[in-house]
Amino acid sequence: MIRLILLVAQKDLLIERRSRVLLWQVAPFGLMTLVLCGLAVGPNASTQAKLAPGLFYIVMTLVALLVINRTSQLEASRGTATSVQILGIDPGAVFLGKGLAMFFQLSIVGTALLAGTTVLLHVPLHAAILTLPVLLLATATLSLAGVLYGRIAASSANAGTLLPALALPAFAPVLIAGERAFSSLIAVGPLARWVWLLGVALGAYACVGLLLYGALEES
């Protein structure tokens, strides 16, 4: 199972390395959105720092939607989908493997966006560094939820527009918990409960994905 997960993740990352969508499209989109957020908030540094966690996680969510859409489209064509079905790969391994690849991609973009947020929105450096583990936890949750909802949307002819409508409500707990945890690190506040919420969401999406991904593939 672990070998299959790694093979699926390696394949998705190899395709990403070839196409460079993350580098030339997703990352610039995220950084431009972050700059626009900074401009929209205005020049006051304390206001920017106060709003930075929320703005950062909104940008992360938008970036995640792009990556999810891209990843779920890899097997969208009928020929590719059939070829992969014929291989008969364990659906649990496909779910976790694609989640792992997405986590790797989102972690890279997320770290770059966090650095951008620190510079552009005047976030204290110590808060940005301390929030990194929380960001990775939130990214892992977004990745597993993204693979699941990407698969659901992929079965529709309008996957690109259906995905945000389906996924954004599911991302809300991750966005809220990530933002609250980040804010708690900037202005001291309760952190554990938000980390716990992210952990529960990660576990829930892992269980649901392992149970349902095979059925979603068949549908």
Partner: protein, 213 residues
């Protein structure tokens, strides 16, 4: 030896029937060619035999696997599939695609290179699949047959997009597969090469109208 047995199988999409009460028995070491007009159900029958379609009525087994149950997923690992569309991942090279397929299924990785050589793609083995012509992309799928050596070969219009050399290659492989004990089922609109002796299955309106040796 019976390879596949279908009894009154119905396959629908929405309310539209793709297959309407198909009864069919396929024997081992035999080549079958399915003919019929557009929309007759040729591709749907191939997909059913591959475990890619779920019957809404009837029963059947293919290679000993029940096609009406979750055994369909296991069945797929034992069939070879050549479809109309580009298969595998367009951004990966033929070698990378076949390596992924072989590693995930436990097939012989070393045989990939000889398979690519056999289908005449050694010189294009490392370029992205999307850079290859339609015929070359079909050859990659054929190379996978050689690596996997399935018991049941399912080929949808295998001669489409191929040049004369490619058609000869496919014909040779079909004959070799049949000689080696595999069962080959293919669809075709045109006449088959003379060396490809096949049992003919004629389909009309989602039903089997005639089976003739």
């Amino acid at each position: 030896m019976v390879v596949a047995s279908l009894c009154d199988v119905v396959v629908t999409t929405g309310n539209f029937p793709l297959l309407s009460g198909v009864d069919l028995t396929l024997e081992g070491s035999t080549t079958y060619v399915i003919t019929g007009p557009n929309g007759a159900g040729k591709t749907s029958l191939l997909r059913l035999l591959a475990g890619l379609e779920v019957p809404s009525r009837g029963s059947g087994t293919v290679l000993g696997f029940d096609i009406c149950s979750a055994e369909r997923r296991e069945l797929r690992r034992h069939v070879g599939w050549l479809g109309h569309e580009t298969s595998f991942y367009p951004d990966l090279s033929p070698t990378e695609n076949l390596l992924f397929a072989a590693r995930t299924t436990g097939a012989d990785v070393d045989s990939i290179y000889s398979a690519l050589d056999r289908v005449g793609l050694t010189h294009r083995a490392k370029v992205p699949l999307k850079s290859l012509s339609a015929g070359q992309q079909r050859r990659v799928s054929i190379a996978w047959f050689l690596v996997r050596r399935p018991q049941l070969w399912l080929m949808d219009e295998p001669f489409a997009s191929l040049d004369d050399e490619g058609r000869v290659l496919i014909s040779e492989l079909i004959v070799a597969a049949q000689t080696g004990g595999a069962t080959v089922v293919l669809t075709s609109h045109g006449a088959l090469p003379a060396e490809t002796l096949a049992t003919s299955i004629v389909m009309v309106g989602g039903r089997i109208a005639e089976v003739a040796s």
